[in-house]
């Protein structure tokens, strides 16, 4: 995609300029946009944005899963470890399953089973809540668990 205008008439001038540039490299870039390196950089940056976005959607840096029940103290578990957790509430035992960084409620003693149908949790945006059994499951950093995240009954 080289412009053909300069190749015939001004080739000697261009050649001389290139020779001078090679003799004493100028401080400025003389390439015409976009160069292959420009496009490579653009692709890399877009890939970085996509990867970062995926990381943020997955919960960013936090892999700490908060399990909160009405009666007991908050429990923190590592979401990178696959396990089942039994949480006891007023109605009975709710089972939270953690697999491959995802968390979901596998079994619940409540009648409507809304919390089971809430599906998988894999990010900070949502929380799994079982109101009848008074249970909350969400990803959060340990420092920021307090505050406006208490369960409203």
């Amino acid at each position: 995609m080289r412009p053909s205008i300069s190749s015939s008439a001004a080739s000697t001038k261009v050649g001389a300029a290139v020779g001078a540039a090679n003799a004493a490299p100028p401080a400025r870039s003389r390439r015409r946009a976009p160069t292959p390196a420009d496009l490579l950089l653009l692709v890399l940056l877009l890939a970085a944005v996509a990867a970062l976005q995926a990381g943020v959607a997955r919960g960013g840096v936090s892999q700490d899963l908060l399990l909160r029940t009405a009666g007991g103290p908050d429990q923190w578990v590592d979401a990178r470890r696959d396990a089942d957790y039994n949480l006891t509430g007023p109605l009975g035992t709710t089972v939270v399953t953690v697999r491959d960084g995802d968390a979901w409620i596998a079994r619940a003693p409540c009648r409507n089973q809304v919390c089971v149908r809430m599906g998988h949790l894999h990010g900070t945006r949502r929380a799994l809540v079982c109101l009848p059994n008074r249970i909350l499951v969400r990803f959060a950093s340990k420092g920021q668990a307090e505050g406006p995240d208490a369960i409203a009954h």
Binding site: A27, R28, A33, T35, D38, L45, A48, A50, L52, V61
Partner: protein, 199 residues
């Protein structure tokens, strides 16, 4: 005895004709370079202030037109003069927008410093591969990262804002393309005005 018209030709042929404009090589130091820096800084300040005054659909996101001037100064005169232009633009811009030494000023300083640093590194280590577009992309990305890094402790009360990085980085890619193409076009015009054959 010289005729009254004799003193006139030297200024005409010496300073006004575009062919005889001193090139970058003769502008390394001295009054001519300082004048150039002052003009670049004035242009950058005007762009900075006008951009602030424009209505803005997305808060905090601006085109960064002043970076066009930084890039041109960097490629025309080198890292030192570009740093001088950036510093003058930050001070004057902060002065005219009323935010001198405030939190917004700190954000602008962080962004502009990071941008200057990485664009200078880009010229030094990859100057023959990148056009102004690539350098502008580098600078805009560094600007976004630096501002996110400093905005958390400075403006958001210590909360980490890294979750916003993908959004800001994506927007800075878009603005970096615009300012990079603008700088590319401007540099080509400067070449034409100077009579230098293009690449």
């Amino acid at each position: 005895m010289p005729s009254p018209t004799e003193p006139l030709p030297p200024p005409q042929s010496g300073t006004i004709a575009p062919v005889a404009t001193p090139g970058a090589a003769t502008l390394r130091r001295g009054t001519a370079l300082r004048t150039r820096i002052a003009l670049y800084a004035a242009a950058a300040t005007v762009l900075f202030v006008v951009e602030r005054a424009l209505p803005n659909p997305v808060p905090w996101v601006r085109l960064g037109l002043a970076n066009v001037v930084t890039l041109v100064a960097l490629l025309e005169h080198g890292a030192g003069p570009a740093a001088a232009v950036v510093a003058l633009r930050l001070l004057l811009g902060g002065f005219f927008t009323g935010g001198l030494f405030g939190p917004q000023f700190a954000l602008a300083v962080a962004g502009a410093t990071a941008s200057w640093f990485i664009m200078t590194a880009g010229v030094w280590f990859g100057g023959r591969y990148w056009s102004p577009l690539g350098l502008s992309l580098l600078g805009a990305s560094a600007h976004a990262v630096a501002q996110i890094a400093i905005a958390g402790p400075l403006v958001a009360g210590g909360a980490s804002l890294w979750a916003l990085l993908p959004l800001f980085l994506g927007l800075s890619i878009a603005t970096g393309i615009v300012t990079g193409l603008a700088a590319d076009a401007l540099l080509r015009r400067l070449d034409v005005a100077r009579g230098v054959p293009g690449p």
